[in-house]
Symmetry: C2
Subunit: 290 residues, 2 copies
Amino acid sequence: MTLASAERTTAVLSGTALAKDIRARVSTTAAELPAAGTEPRLAVVVATDDESTAWYVRSIAKAAAGTGIRCDVVDLGASATPERIRGELGTLSEDPAVHGIVLQTPLPGAASLEDLATAITPEKDVDGANPVSLGRLSAGLPAFAPATAAAVAELLEHHEILLSGRRAVVVGRSNVVGRPAAQLLLRRDATVTVCHRYTRDLAAHTRQAEVLVVAVGKVGLIGAEHVSPGAVVIDVGTNPTEDGGLVGDVDADAVTGLAAGLTPVPGGVGPVTTALLLRHTVESAWRSTA
Amino acid sequence: MTLASAERTTAVLSGTALAKDIRARVSTTAAELPAAGTEPRLAVVVATDDESTAWYVRSIAKAAAGTGIRCDVVDLGASATPERIRGELGTLSEDPAVHGIVLQTPLPGAASLEDLATAITPEKDVDGANPVSLGRLSAGLPAFAPATAAAVAELLEHHEILLSGRRAVVVGRSNVVGRPAAQLLLRRDATVTVCHRYTRDLAAHTRQAEVLVVAVGKVGLIGAEHVSPGAVVIDVGTNPTEDGGLVGDVDADAVTGLAAGLTPVPGGVGPVTTALLLRHTVESAWRSTA
């Protein structure tokens, strides 16, 4: 090993310990809820045959069960119409026994998450999919942030990465991750740049980042040339590999030794996201007892 | 004049012709509405004694009258409670004769615009103050953008300033201008950076801007050292001067000869903002007849 490469080590910014900690607190709260008159319950609405989605939904259901939250998977089938999905979301919104509602993507055909999610009442919108939640969030009013974007912020806080006054760059501008993550970083007083497919010279932007958040869904998008020495890199990408594993958007080998810290995939943002969905659900359940 | 200073001229990106054009079209639409069964009506809710606010509200009322829109100024007085304001906004939201509702700032004491504006029904939220409008806007769903932010986008389009793939920097992150302006620039495919009071080395960021939007409310905030040659600068600041005039956030003398274009203050963003409030009101009135 040369001196130069020994000079910098890249911390693995794991999410597993944080997720475990969040789930433990969720369990405690969930156990107290029956005495307050309710049992916490999450409903996940699915309208796809996609196998990796089914796997993800099972992992949510398992995590929920592990913390004492009942999780109903409402499978409407891949041929469900937008009207049918909207109707189901409305029914769940009105059901006092349900505290959290997640509309799982992908959706069939022309159905739009943003449009359908307006049928999820904000009080139960634990994945922050309803544009009302995003608006309240960016206005600084109480609302549930999309769980993945919230997981980015929680991970940074957990690993004591300062944000105030620092240059944060978000690559990706989706409504579920990029945009809300940018809002959350801005609320924490970072100077925030949002890059996307039309950004010219992506590397010139990302190299300015002290904190780099990548949420595109493209293997190998971020390499050594995109990262400045000492940057903290949060990899939100979860791309399935041929052998059934997961890989992020960041070339971890290329960035290791360069970045000050990097979240692993899997084991970084993912487990924190699921844990936050559960935390949001018990928070919603608590408020319903008030 | 030296050769160097003669090499570049700074275009004055006036808003007066654009505002006149928008108002002319509003007049045409407003004149057609009675035949469709309604008369366009805007309500401006005021709860302050502030003299410059009173001046601004009168200018809206005058512009409305000039286009055939009835404008009711609902003055609740500087001692109005948040409950009183909220109640009035609710009443106006339910009144079928009212098509546009503006809650004017400043507000008394602890009243928060974001909080109170949730009482404005989104259909009539012609100044995009309700967080629902902001959320729908950033999710790409139909909504009224805050008129000032929309005016920034309209001015850029009117003067044929391309945005796709270009570096835009917004200075200021208010819910009424900075944040929504950043959303609108992002939707037009610019790479967008939001700077604010905690940004370190503001000039290093703003010098990277091909399009610079300044919305802070601080005289002389932006000087020659903040602007790269050839940048387009949109000055949203409207700071009252001692002699009763208005001045922006940009030192226009310093930037002239350097920027490719600069909006004047007054006569830039301001008149377009008022014209867009009126356009939103007739749009809302049209939809109410459908």
